[in-house]
């Protein structure tokens, strides 16, 4: 669908195709079985890039929709979105005591570690889970408008970012109590980490949204994988609790690196160079893969939702 001004077509006023075909319904003709590979179009990278660009430019729409999601969820409740803060606070404060006792570790190092890690993990995991059904959730919009598809992921990011801001609040008293003071450098890395994590969530979120709308099994698969990853990633337990040999292996866990990207700056530290490099590679790979998949499937998504 190119918007070009040239005009070479049959005269508009002529009566064309006085179809004198048989009057009986010919179902076979309309219910054709065609091989899926037969209609594979050329890769349209331009349409994918246009989609992303138009999506960013429509920031008013996704900010409004993302904000609306939060407002509607807590409309007429007394605490409003601060229910998120309250429930996270209760979870962190109670879990901290129990697990510090179980692991027999010093509360002053474990408490901040758990609180920051848990909040970052909640952000990452809900983004992954909700990504897989983004297009299905927005099917009303997708079937009625030609808004860019990236808008729906940006709506999801907006919504979860607002939730994250509420989740961070209960972490702050712990950081203050244990006198963890942020340095200028760690604050800079915190912002950098957020931008990088959002970029990763954007890329992989769109990928998951496309896959999730085409294959409805993706969502339950991802849900169970995410649950296992929570236990395999140092969040409830500390990285340093592992043996030295095991510590080398966790480096390959993408969730460890993603959590560490934000947890370290929260704890007033600077993330390891390997973590930053890993996340940069993850973002680059995801962005590239997402562009290709979006270019290949963009014109089909409306049929899938």
């Amino acid at each position: 669908m190119e918007e070009t001004p040239d005009c070479l077509s049959p005269p508009p006023h002529a009566i064309i195709l006085p179809n004198l075909a048989p009057k009986t319904p010919n179902i076979e003709a309309f219910l054709t079985s065609i091989s899926a590979t037969q209609t594979a179009p050329p890769l349209k990278l331009k349409t994918a890039v246009d989609d992303l660009r138009q999506g960013f430019l429509s920031w008013r729409i996704w900010l409004a929709l993302g904000y609306q999601d939060i407002r509607l969820r807590y409309r007429r409740s007394q605490l409003g979105p601060f229910w998120i803060t309250l429930s996270t606070a209760i979870m962190i404060y109670s879990m901290g005591f129990v697990y510090a006792k179980l692991f027999k570790v010093d509360l002053s190092s474990y408490y901040p570690y758990l609180a920051a890690g848990l909040v970052v993990w909640t952000f990452i995991s809900s983004l992954i889970l909700e990504s897989t059904e983004t297009f299905i959730e927005n099917s009303g919009f997708i079937r009625q408008t030609s808004l860019p598809f990236s808008i729906y992921i940006l709506r999801l990011l907006t919504r979860n970012f607002i939730i994250l801001l509420h989740n961070i609040l209960p972490v702050l008293p712990i950081l203050i109590y244990y006198k963890i003071t942020p340095s200028f450098l760690s604050l800079a890395y915190l912002i950098f980490g957020f931008v990088l994590l959002l970029l990763i969530a954007y890329s992989y979120g769109l990928l998951l949204a496309i896959m999730g709308s085409r294959f409805r099994d993706i969502k339950p698969i991802i849900a169970s994988v995410v649950q296992i990853c929570f236990l395999l990633t140092p969040i409830l337990w500390q990285h340093k609790m592992l043996s030295e040999r095991m510590q080398h292996w966790t480096v390959f866990n993408p969730f460890y690196q993603l959590v560490e990207l934000l947890r370290a700056p929260f704890l007033g530290q600077v993330p390891a160079p390997s973590t930053i490099l890993y996340c940069l590679c993850l973002a680059g790979f995801g962005l590239g893969l997402m562009l290709i998949v979006l270019a290949k499937s963009r014109h089909r998504i409306a049929f899938w939702v």
Binding site: M1, E2, E3, T4, P5, D6, C7, S9, P10, P11, P12, H13, A14, I15, I16, L17, P18, N19, A21, P25, N26, A29, F30, L31, T32, S33, I34, S35, A36, T37, T39, P41, R60, I61, A64, L65, Q68, L72, R75, G140, F141, I142, R143, Q144, T145, S146, L147, R214, F215, R216, D217, I218, I221, R298, H299, R300, A302, F303, W304
Partner: protein
């Protein structure tokens, strides 16, 4: 100067039933290989449009007629760039606004004013544009103080009034309409028909689908008769409607005798 050109547009609707959609099938077919795999790769398609070609330029008003499932709504969605056809070529010049679903972006928990704002954004307007239109929408909908209340407190007629007022207050170059004429109670029906006529007059090109032959005759200069995705007939509105009536066993005199307003 707006323009729409369709040449030999064919749209196949993939049907994902229990047999093709699951990942398990894909994985199983990957492992079994051979003959079964070739068969599993086949997806059933419904041909919703076949070789549809026409050209519209400024001043044209095209009415789409045809039975249920003839492809009218699908064609409007192709023109709205929602469905991309696998075969054929589409060239569109001009800003499109489609009123396919009046309730789009209407959220029942938000107030009338909030809905006006959000719907405006969804139609690509800036905050300033919406503020300029807000009073007009409020006045036209006649909802008064209700606009500050959540839409869920509205009666269904009031919800339609709001949706209609929002959807029709913007003037597009190309207007695509799907059976949205005449909503609400008797007085509002008259008003909405008036608004529709204005909107049609303001737009460069209008493509309008309806089962009501009278509405097509009233608003359109051309008509396109779709049957099972094919163009059965395309031409001046009177010629096509006469053939359509004849095919449906309606005597031309009978339909003409009825006043247009009864049909809405």
């Amino acid at each position: 100067m707006s323009k729409i050109q369709l040449s030999k547009v064919t749209l196949d609707f993939p049907i994902y039933g229990a047999n093709t959609r699951s990942l398990k099938k894909s994985l199983v077919s990957l492992m079994t290989g051979g003959a079964i795999r070739a068969e599993d790769n086949r997806i059933t398609f419904i041909r919703a449009l076949e070789e549809v070609s026409f050209e519209l330029s400024s001043g044209d008003t095209l009415g789409l007629i045809g039975h249920n499932g003839a492809g009218k709504s699908t064609l409007l969605r192709v023109l709205s760039k929602i469905y991309t056809p696998a075969i054929g070529d589409i060239k569109i010049k001009g800003r499109i606004s489609s009123l396919l679903d009046l309730g789009l972006g209407i959220d029942s928990e938000s107030t009338g004013f909030e809905n006006i704002y959000l719907s405006g954004l969804l139609r690509g307007l800036s905050r300033k544009d919406i503020d300029a239109k807000k009073d007009d929408i409020a006045e036209f909908s006649e909802l008064g103080d209700y606009l500050a209340m959540p839409v869920r407190t509205y009666s269904s007629g009031m919800q339609l009034r709001l949706a209609f007022s929002i959807a029709t207050c913007f003037s597009p170059e190309i207007l695509l309409l799907d059976e949205v004429m005449g909503v609400g109670d008797a007085s509002f029906v008259e008003k909405s028909k008036q608004r529709m006529s204005e909107l049609v007059a303001q737009s460069d090109i209008v493509v309008f689908s309806s089962h009501s032959v009278e509405l097509i005759r009233k608003f359109c200069t051309k008509a396109l008769w779709l049957e099972k995705g094919h163009v059965k007939l395309l031409g001046p509105v009177d010629t096509v409607l006469a053939a359509y009536d004849k095919a449906n066993g309606i005597k031309p005199a009978a339909t003409r005798a009825k006043p247009a307003s009864d049909h809405v």
